[in-house]
């Protein structure tokens, strides 16, 4: 018999309730289970391995002034039941450690290193002790996300103790690349251990664009923090804005008008379409296929101009409001969207036909940069990269927001896991997205586009998520007094996917790295924050 959502939650509580110190069921979709930190590993393993949950996000907070403790929240998503469960542990300042779960759940690796850097909470037994977010010239005992750290102060720089992967051996050559690159791309340092032109190992050092967005957000009013959320990343601006707005709406427990939900879907899909079109063109740049590059950028430009016409911003900034949209979209504009999409669809079909029938292009993409299903599952890879490896995750289907449960679309999967599969997924998803836009516009109802967000009870947690072009973006928000942000954690799709790039590259040759990297198309800014 299929379990209902309520039964499933009850079942979980029945099985691990005895480990719980307290259970908070105030949010129907997200039960918070507080456990003793020594039971953390057992509970997490139970939720992930036995119940098929996946680690959605993990947040560390400094609640010393509220509860007297630091807290960690491990949020697990259960796709089958469209529900979340949060495991919370309290950590005493006198003993700021907790047992690491990374050895068993590799997906927790970065999260645990991050709370060590930013909050000074050390994961005991973590396999990798290197700093993640803060680089080696940051003083060792300064933790920026602690409430007693003033964001305006300058941290003194210390002698760099950054350590990189070193490769040894007679035939092994080490190739350091970046963080400054020749093209106009974001900074990241890559270290290849190669034999001849074949890559043995890749170590990626990121977080060069860490701007402390989460710290700046603390104490900000929600309206202002929305503007910040839109600027986490350039090409996922809409997805981040909606995620943040949904987190606030979740905390405030309000429902936004139906028209706003439909319009948000239209805008979110427009973002996906322009990203995917541009990314397919960009993959061509990895092997110098000029026709693909120029047509890709031409079509992307056409879509960006459409965005500008509708919202006044090429990257769709400034239209999302807490509780809906700042302004309505006129029926003329909606007609223009449909017309432009039809035009783009036609040209894009031509482009894909040229691309997929080009022998060299297909040869360069097929079997290059394979990410296996096992690797994708262990690292909890999301988005296009996951679906290309046969991992069926799409939070539009598994945790529907807006009105994604009211429109028909397929989650496109492939099992090859190579560059070609990732390109194909994008090509197919563009068609699905165009279908969603058409349905949303056809079903659109008249009415208001915004509801008011009232005062939210302090220390309420809200989670908002959207499926961006790169995968799910998850915003975890704890509201403070006076509707201000107390703690804000952005977990973008790229945060999950970057470790996967390092696994997909070994075994390939060095000149294939750019095309592999482009096929994942990860932004650095929304990973580094």
């Amino acid at each position: 018999m299929e379990l209902t959502r309520e039964h499933f939650i009850l079942l979980l509580i029945q099985k691990i309730g005895n480990k719980a110190v307290s259970i908070d069921k105030s949010n129907q979709l997200n039960t918070v289970l507080k456990v003793n930190k020594y039971n953390l590993l057992e509970v997490c393993l139970f939720l992930e391995k036995e119940q098929g949950g996946r680690l959605f996000t993990m947040v560390g907070t400094d609640e010393r002034k509220v509860t007297g403790y630091f807290s960690l929240y491990y949020v697990f998503a259960f796709d089958k039941y469209q529900v979340f469960m949060t495991v919370k542990i309290d950590i005493d300042e006198a003993e700021p450690t907790f047992p690491s779960v990374s050895a068993e759940l590799p997906a927790a690796n970065w999260y645990e290193r991050e709370v060590n850097d930013l909050l000074g909470l050390r994961a005991l037994g973590h396999p990798d002790r290197r700093p993640l977010v803060l680089h080696g010239d940051w003083p060792e005992d300064v933790y920026p996300l602690r409430k007693d750290y003033d964001a305006k102060q300058m941290a003194p720089r210390v002698e760099n103790r950054e350590s990189y992967m070193e490769y040894e051996g007679k035939e092994v050559v080490q190739i350091p690349v970046g963080p400054i690159h020749a093209g106009i791309i974001e900074p990241g340092h890559f270290r290849f251990g190669v034999v001849g032109d074949t890559v043995l190992h890749l170590d990626a050092r990121l977080f060069f664009t860490h701007r402390g967005i989460e710290k700046i957000a603390e104490g900000m009013s929600l309206d202002k923090a929305l503007l910040l959320a839109e600027r986490v990343c350039g090409v996922c601006a809409m997805s981040h804005a909606v995620s943040f707005a949904q987190a606030v709406e979740d905390a405030a427990n309000i429902d936004i008008p139906e028209r706003a939900k439909y319009l948000r879907m239209v805008l979110l899909e427009l973002e996906r379409i322009y990203n995917h079109v541009g990314d397919v063109g960009n993959i061509c740049a990895g092997f110098g296929f000029a026709v693909g590059i120029s047509h890709g950028s031409r079509l992307k430009e056409q879509l960006l101009r459409l965005n500008e016409h509708i919202t006044g911003n090429r990257y769709l900034r400034g239209i999302i409001a807490l509780g809906g949209l700042h302004r309505d979209i006129s029926s003329d504009d909606l007609k223009l969207i449909l017309e432009t999409l039809d035009e783009v669809a036609k040209s894009f079909d031509e482009l894909t036909e040229i691309l997929l029938s080009h022998d060299i292009a297909v040869d360069r993409m097929a079997t290059t940069g394979v990410l296996s299903l096992k690797q994708a599952e262990d690292l909890e890879v999301v988005g296009v990269a996951a679906r290309a490896s046969g991992r069926n995750v799409d939070c539009r289907k598994s945790h529907p927001y807006a009105l994604y449960d009211k429109v028909k679309f397929n989650v496109v999967c492939d099992e090859h896991g190579d560059v070609l599969a990732r390109a194909n997924i994008r090509i197919e998803e563009i068609k699905e997205s165009m279908g969603i836009v058409k349905q949303a516009i056809a079903n659109l109802v008249e009415g208001e586009v915004c509801t008011k967000v009232g005062m939210i009870r302090p220390y309420t947690i809200g989670i908002g998520w959207t499926e961006s072009a790169r995968g799910e973006n998850c915003h975890w928000l704890m509201i403070g007094p006076d509707n201000k942000v107390f703690r804000y954690r952005v977990r973008s799709a790229t945060y999950n996917n970057w470790p996967a790039v390092a696994l997909a590259v070994p075994g390939n040759i060095v000149p294939d790295f750019p095309v592999i990297n482009k096929s994942f198309e990860l932004c650095y800014a929304c990973c580094d924050r």
Partner: protein, 314 residues
């Protein structure tokens, strides 16, 4: 004697001045075919002027090799430019205009470039030179074979003799050996000039570079000289191709202004056509996997050998 010296000087200066123009034509033609406005055909000149005005920064780890190589490479292409018939059917350094010598002079310049790329100890330079040397090990015999397929028929290794022979008997070109050698040589030229599908001259992706990878450590006038030398090299390779496959229009005498002028115009026209031709190929293809390039060159060699067999059997 005087007019010979004058002609030699003209030919060198012509090569040096015309090379960036041909580069500009190719870049602009590519842009036009890719739906872009593209840079002006005179952009390569502006780039060179810019490089020569800039300071040259050289790695502390680099030896005198790095400083000397640009001059060596530039000198080598200047010397070669005297060995190839361009406007007239004779070459100024006719007695030395042996194709084998030309090919190995190119190899000499490649040797210095590859060695210098290792000099500063940067990993990109090492990658670039190891790839370049790997390719050139196959490229040189392929170039030699494709040229020999034609030269064997005429019975010489001197380029100007071959050009004269083909000029006076155009029927030669219609033979199947010519056709085979033509395709073989086109493949070789693409590789030798570092173009798609072998190398991408316009890429900024350091990890995929072959020829450009070796120049990454250069800046200022050194970079300018290296770029200029490779543009001249491209023009020279085109000229070899022209003198082997369509030498018609070259002036047979060295003292008639009208026929020299006509030769010059025809020569430039042929270069422009070749440039556009290679721009079309670059637009149609994508860069192939690095380790498949030897296969492409092997197919070029196969065609040449076929052509040679046909000649020998006849």
């Amino acid at each position: 004697m005087l007019e010979k010296i004058l002609l030699a000087l003209t030919q060198v200066i012509l090569c040096v001045l015309l090379a960036p123009f041909i580069q500009g034509i190719i870049k602009n033609a590519k842009a036009k075919m890719q739906n872009r406005v593209g840079p002006s055909i005179f952009q390569p000149y502006r780039d060179l002027i810019k490089y020569f005005k800039k300071d040259a920064v050289i790695s502390d780890h680099a030896s005198w090799f790095t400083r000397v190589t640009p001059y060596i490479c530039f000198t080598i292409v200047l010397v070669i430019s005297l060995m190839i018939p361009m406007i007239t059917l004779s070459a100024p350094l006719g007695f030395a205009s042996d194709l084998i010598l030309v090919i190995y002079l190119f190899a000499l310049s490649r040797f210095f470039t590859a060695l210098t790329a290792l000099d500063a100890g940067s990993s990109f330079g090492g990658m670039g030179s190891s790839r370049e040397i790997m390719l050139s090990a196959i490229l040189e015999p392929a170039l030699l074979l494709s040229a020999l397929a034609i030269l064997l028929q005429i019975g010489t290794t001197k380029l100007y003799v071959a050009a004269t022979a083909i000029n006076s008997a155009p029927g030669l070109v219609l033979q199947p050996t010519y056709f085979l050698a033509f395709i073989a040589m086109v493949i070789v030229i693409i590789t030798e000039t570092g173009r798609i599908p072998v190398d991408n001259p316009d890429t900024h992706l350091e990890l995929t570079m072959i020829h450009e990878g070796m120049l990454l450590e250069y800046s200022g006038r050194y970079l300018g000289l290296m770029m200029w030398a490779s543009q001249i090299k491209q023009l020279l390779i085109f000229s070899i191709f022209i003198s082997l496959f369509f030498p018609w229009g070259m002036s047979a005498v060295a003292n008639d202004i009208v026929s020299l002028g006509l030769g010059l115009v025809v020569f430039i026209l042929k270069l422009v056509c070749l440039g556009v031709f290679f721009a079309v190929i670059e637009t149609m293809y994508a860069k192939m996997r690095l380790f498949q390039v030897p296969r492409l060159l092997a197919s070029s060699m196969l065609l040449s050998i076929l052509a040679i067999i046909i000649t020998v059997v006849k």
